[in-house]
C-alpha cells in the first residue's frame, strides 16, 4: 500500500470481458481521488489502503455481446443514486444511452475494492475524472475497430446510442469490437465540455429500478458461498443478564430460533 503513489492513476488495462458476456473491458486503478475542492481535502490527501500491485484494476467497465455496457462499481449503491450517477458519467463520453448501462457492485473476486469505502460525498467526485477518461478512450477504441471493419477512416465516423456510423454504414459497438484480440490503447482524447453533455446534469430515471422491484439478490446479505453457515444473535432474556460462558457445537440441522 505504501508504493501506491508511484502508480499512474491513468494506467488503463484492457482485457477480454471479465463477465461471461463481455467482449471488451477497460479498467483502471483508482486509489487517489482527484477531487479538487476544499471540502474534499481528505480525499486528496489520504492514501487509502490499496493492496494491489498497481496492475489490478479496481474500476472496470465492459461492452457485452448484446451491446450493453456493464460497469463494475467499486463504490456501494445504498439508495443515494450513485449507480445512476456513474451511468450518466459513462454515457456522455461513451455515447451510449443511459438505459444501455448496467451498473453492478464489483465482487471482490473481480477486482480489488476501493479501500476508501463509500461515504463523505466523494464517490462521484473521485470517479468523475477516471470514468470519463476511460469512457472517452473506449469510444475511440471502438471507433478505430469499426473503421477497420468498415474500411473507412476513424475520423469520418460518428457515435451515438452504442452505434458507430459513417459513409452510409453502421454497426453496434459490440459488433465493432467482436473478435478483436490485439488492442492498441490510444492516448486519452480530449474530454467534452460539460455543457454538451446529455445525461450529466439532467434528470434521468434510476438505472437500478428493475433488479430492485424484482427482488434480485443484490444485497450483501443475499450472497451465498460454498458450505456457508448461517448464524444469528441470541439475545439475553433478562435485563442485566451477562454472558457467563459460551461453546461452539456442531449443528447439522437448524435449531428453531
Amino acid at each position: 500500500m505504501s508504493n501506491s503513489k508511484s502508480v499512474s492513476r491513468r494506467k488503463f488495462l484492457v482485457r477480454a470481458g471479465i463477465g461471461t458476456l463481455g467482449v471488451l473491458a477497460l479498467g483502471t486503478v483508482v486509489f487517489r481521488n482527484p477531487a479538487r475542492r476544499k471540502i474534499y481535502e481528505l480525499a486528496e490527501t489520504i492514501v487509502p489502503p490499496y493492496s494491489g500491485t498497481g496492475t489490478e484494476a479496481n474500476l472496470w467497465f465492459e461492452i457485452t455481446k448484446d451491446n450493453q455496457v456493464t460497469l463494475y462499481s467499486p463504490k456501494v449503491e445504498m439508495g443515494q443514486g450513485l449507480f445512476t450517477g456513474l451511468a450518466q458519467i459513462v454515457a456522455d463520453e461513451l455515447d451510449v444511452d443511459v438505459t444501455q448501462i448496467q451498473v453492478i457492485a464489483a465482487a471482490t473476486a473481480t477486482g480489488i475494492i476501493d479501500g476508501l469505502s463509500t461515504g463523505g460525498s466523494i464517490s462521484v467526485a473521485s470517479l468523475w475524472q477516471p470514468l470519463r477518461e476511460m469512457a472517452a478512450t473506449m469510444r475511440e477504441m471502438v471507433k478505430s475497430e469499426a473503421a477497420k471493419k468498415m474500411g473507412v477512416e476513424a475520423s469520418s465516423l460518428t457515435t451515438s446510442n452504442g452505434i458507430v456510423s459513417g459513409g452510409g454504414k453502421s454497426m453496434t459497438y459490440a459488433e465493432a469490437v467482436a473478435d478483436v484480440t490485439k488492442w492498441k490503447l490510444p492516448k486519452t482524447p480530449a474530454l467534452r465540455s460539460i455543457k454538451n453533455y446529455n445525461f450529466v446534469g439532467k434528470p434521468v430515471k434510476r438505472v437500478d429500478l428493475v433488479p430492485k422491484v424484482l427482488g434480485d439478490p443484490i444485497f450483501g446479505m443475499d450472497a451465498e458461498m460454498p458450505d456457508m453457515l448461517h448464524a444469528c444473535i441470541v439475545r439475553k432474556e433478562h435485563i442485566g443478564a451477562t454472558l457467563k460462558a459460551w461453546m461452539l457445537v456442531k449443528q447439522n440441522k437448524c435449531q428453531a430460533w
Binding site: 439508495g79 443514486g81 429500478l209 428493475v210 424484482l214 427482488g215 439478490p217 443475499d222 440441522k253
Partner: protein, 159 residues
C-alpha cells in the same frame, strides 16, 4: 420434520425444524433471497410474503403453519417480461432508493389491492404499515394508487 407447501406455483418439501421461521426456509433452504430480514419481530414488514394470498410477516411465522398452503414471494409476483402491476407502478414512480425493504412493501400492496381494489389514503395508512429507512413513503403512496389503477385495467382486459 417434513413440511410440504406450494411456493410460487411449484410444490416443495423441506426437512427442517417446524418452528423455523418461514423467512429462513425461503431464504436459506430454498435460496429465494428477495424476501428480506429486517427486525425479526414482525414490526418492520421487510419479510412480508403471501400465504394463501394474505400478507404475512414471515420472520415470525413458523414454517409448520405453511403445510399444504400456497406461498408467494416477490420472485413469484412478476417477471422482468411480465411485471405485476405493483412492480410496474413502482418503476413508473421511481420508488426504490436502497431497495432493501421494497419487496415487503410490494407484497403488502399486492395483497391490499386484491382486497381493496381502489384504496384511499386512509386505507393505505391503515394497511401498509411497513417501515422504510430511506423514507420513500411519499412516492410509495403515489405508486400504490397507480398500482390499483393498473391492476383494475389489467383485470378489465382479462375479462
Amino acid at each position: 420434520m417434513k413440511i410440504s407447501f406450494n411456493i410460487n406455483g411449484q410444490p416443495q418439501t423441506v426437512d427442517v425444524d417446524g418452528n423455523t421461521p418461514l423467512l429462513w426456509v425461503v431464504r436459506d433452504v430454498l435460496h429465494l433471497k428477495g424476501t428480506k430480514f429486517g427486525c425479526g419481530k414482525a414490526a418492520c414488514g421487510a419479510c412480508t410474503l403471501h400465504v394463501e394470498g394474505e400478507a404475512v410477516r414471515s420472520c415470525s411465522y413458523s414454517v409448520k403453519f405453511a403445510e399444504g398452503k400456497r406461498v408467494t414471494t416477490i420472485e413469484g409476483l412478476g417477471t422482468k417480461e411480465n411485471l405485476h402491476p405493483v412492480q410496474q407502478a413502482w418503476i413508473e414512480e421511481v420508488v426504490p432508493q436502497c431497495g432493501y425493504c421494497q419487496p415487503g412493501f410490494m407484497m403488502a400492496t399486492a395483497a391490499l389491492i386484491e382486497k381493496v381494489p381502489n384504496p384511499t389514503d386512509e386505507d393505505i395508512d391503515n394497511n401498509i404499515v411497513n417501515i422504510c429507512r430511506c423514507a420513500t413513503y411519499y412516492r410509495m403512496r403515489k405508486a400504490i394508487h397507480r398500482a390499483a389503477e393498473l391492476n383494475q385495467s389489467s383485470k378489465q382486459i382479462d375479462q
